[in-house]
């Protein structure tokens, strides 16, 4: 992938047009999706990567073993300095290829099956009810991020892993730093604290197993010798941050979309149909594409994608948020349409073997939040002008920093 010295490449990610529509991808990426769907950009560390924006091209990359998810390969386009320092060094399912990927996933997947997630619905409903009860008791205005969007996924993932509630604030702060710390030092410090916590928790679960994922992994995989202790510490950390940050961001961003759209809000508030609510949530995932840093891969063989030749050790960034705005798959893709028939085919959770294992859980959390919030607080509204909201554009996820609301 050589570039003529006199043709400077634009940096990825380009800026969004926050004043026009914060929920749309950056205009430069929308232009590329129309005019040059496979193109090159420069990333944070100065290296180049391919940018893939089309639905079919993106699915082709993500389902092809000639593209590796393993950051140890030269040319892998890591997301940022925090990832390069922490999660990118893990040998967990996020960052390994088959056959090891499937072996590891099957050790933990029993806690993410349809049956298991459906079994968690009453618990999730209870923590959503409790969070809203507390907001009502206190009275508005409150920050919806810290009062609902962050606590719900934090409590759910803590329950799944077996992390005591008392430790949840500790995790919230450090999970954030792991994903988006500005320096390697800050990311490393946050990482050390979390890894040590899981070391201690594993010791406790060796002595007294509970009904949770870490206890099962300790007694069924680690102690019999199928899975290393270091790997279990790092898998626990991955599940904690992945389950917590992305879902919190999506709860906040999807709530903001509905606060701005009275028709969509009324449709959700007035519906008692779980099929409609599920489709609405899928459409919110498609439309918002909040995991806008894309799926990162590196070619391990020469592959043609969208008429361009990608060579070994060239990085590829598959932009799920642009794929989900592909007009050939989702007509009027820029319109939020809760009756869209194929919106479940969105790739907000990725595609291929690395599709997010927690997607059923995340979708369920969003369904319960939206089926509950608007009925309990029909007068919910922003407590500040939209123009005063602060968006986080440069992280792994696109999200709103604070969401002051009243009712």
């Amino acid at each position: 992938m050589s570039t003529p010295a006199d043709t400077p490449l634009d940096f990825f990610p380009p800026a969004r047009d926050l004043e026009r529509c914060p929920f749309d991808p950056p205009p430069e990426l929308m232009r590329r999706a129309r005019e040059e769907p496979v193109s090159r950009m420069r990333i944070w560390d100065g290296t180049e990567a391919w940018i893939v924006t089309g639905y079919a091209d993106g699915r082709a990359v993500l389902s092809d073993e000639r593209f590796s998810a393993d950051p140890r390969h030269a040319g892998f386009p890591e997301k940022n300095v925090a990832y390069a320092t922490t999660l990118g060094k893990d040998r967990t399912i996020r960052a390994i290829d088959n056959p090891e990927h499937d072996r590891q996933k099957r050790m933990m997947i029993r806690d993410f099956t349809v049956k298991r997630v459906n079994g968690m619905r009453p618990y999730i409903q209870q923590i959503v009810n409790d969070a809203i009860d507390e907001m009502i008791a206190e009275g508005g205005p409150v920050d919806l991020m810290s009062r609902l969007a962050v606590p719900v996924p934090t409590l759910v993932i803590c329950e799944l892993l077996g992390v005591p509630y008392a430790d949840r604030d500790f995790f919230g702060d450090r999970a954030k730093a792991l994903l988006a710390a500005p320096t390697a030092e800050a990311a490393g410090a946050a990482e050390a604290a979390i890894l040590q916590y899981f070391e201690d928790l594993i010791d406790r679960r060796i002595a007294s197993p509970q009904d949770d994922l870490i206890s099962r992994m300790v007694h069924e995989q680690m102690l019999p010798g199928h899975f290393g202790r270091t790997d279990l510490v790092r898998l626990s950390r991955l599940l904690l941050v992945a389950g917590h940050d992305t879902t919190a961001g999506m709860i906040g961003l999807s709530a903001l979309v509905l606060l701005q759209d009275s028709v969509a809000r009324a449709a959700v508030r007035e519906s008692d149909d779980p099929v409609f609510i599920a489709n609405a949530v899928d459409e919110l995932f498609r439309y918002l594409g909040s995991t806008h840093a894309g799926r990162r891969r590196v070619a391990v063989a020469e592959v043609e994608i969208g008429g361009r030749t990608i060579r070994p050790n060239e990085g590829v960034i598959v932009l799920n948020n642009l794929m989900d705005r592909d007009e050939s798959v989702f007509p009027d893709a820029g319109v939020l349409d809760f009756h869209r028939p194929n919106t479940r085919a969105n790739v907000a959770f990725g595609y291929g073997i690395h599709q997010c294992p927690g997607q059923l859980l995340a979708r369920t959390e969003l369904q319960i939040v939206h089926a509950t919030l608007w009925k309990r607080l029909p007068g919910l509204r922003l407590a500040v002008p939209m123009s005063e909201l602060r968006f986080v554009e440069d992280g792994s996820n696109f999200e709103v920093a604070d969401l002051p609301v009243t009712w």
Binding site: S63, R106, R110, T113, V114, K115, A345
Partner: protein
């Protein structure tokens, strides 16, 4: 009332278990046709020749499956 034509058109579901990524999408979308092994999350086919009113859900599961592990054979 199922039309004679529709009833006569084969609709045979095939899963390639070795491709399955344990996503659970199919068991969520068409629970009468697909389920998951409790331990491994791998797909299990409950009904290889589902009734007409389940065809749309099966097609959606086929489209959504991240591992392209589901296929529908419509020729006899």
């Amino acid at each position: 009332m199922v039309s004679a034509d529709a009833a006569a058109t084969p609709f045979h579901v095939v899963v390639e278990r070795h491709r399955c990524a344990s996503s659970g999408n199919c068991a969520d979308i068409a629970p009468e046709v697909f389920t998951q092994d409790d331990a491994t999350g791998l797909v299990e086919l409950l009904d290889a020749d589902p009734a007409l009113d389940r065809h749309a859900a099966v097609r959606r599961a086929e489209l959504v499956c991240p591992a392209q592990a589901i296929a529908v054979e419509t020729t006899s």
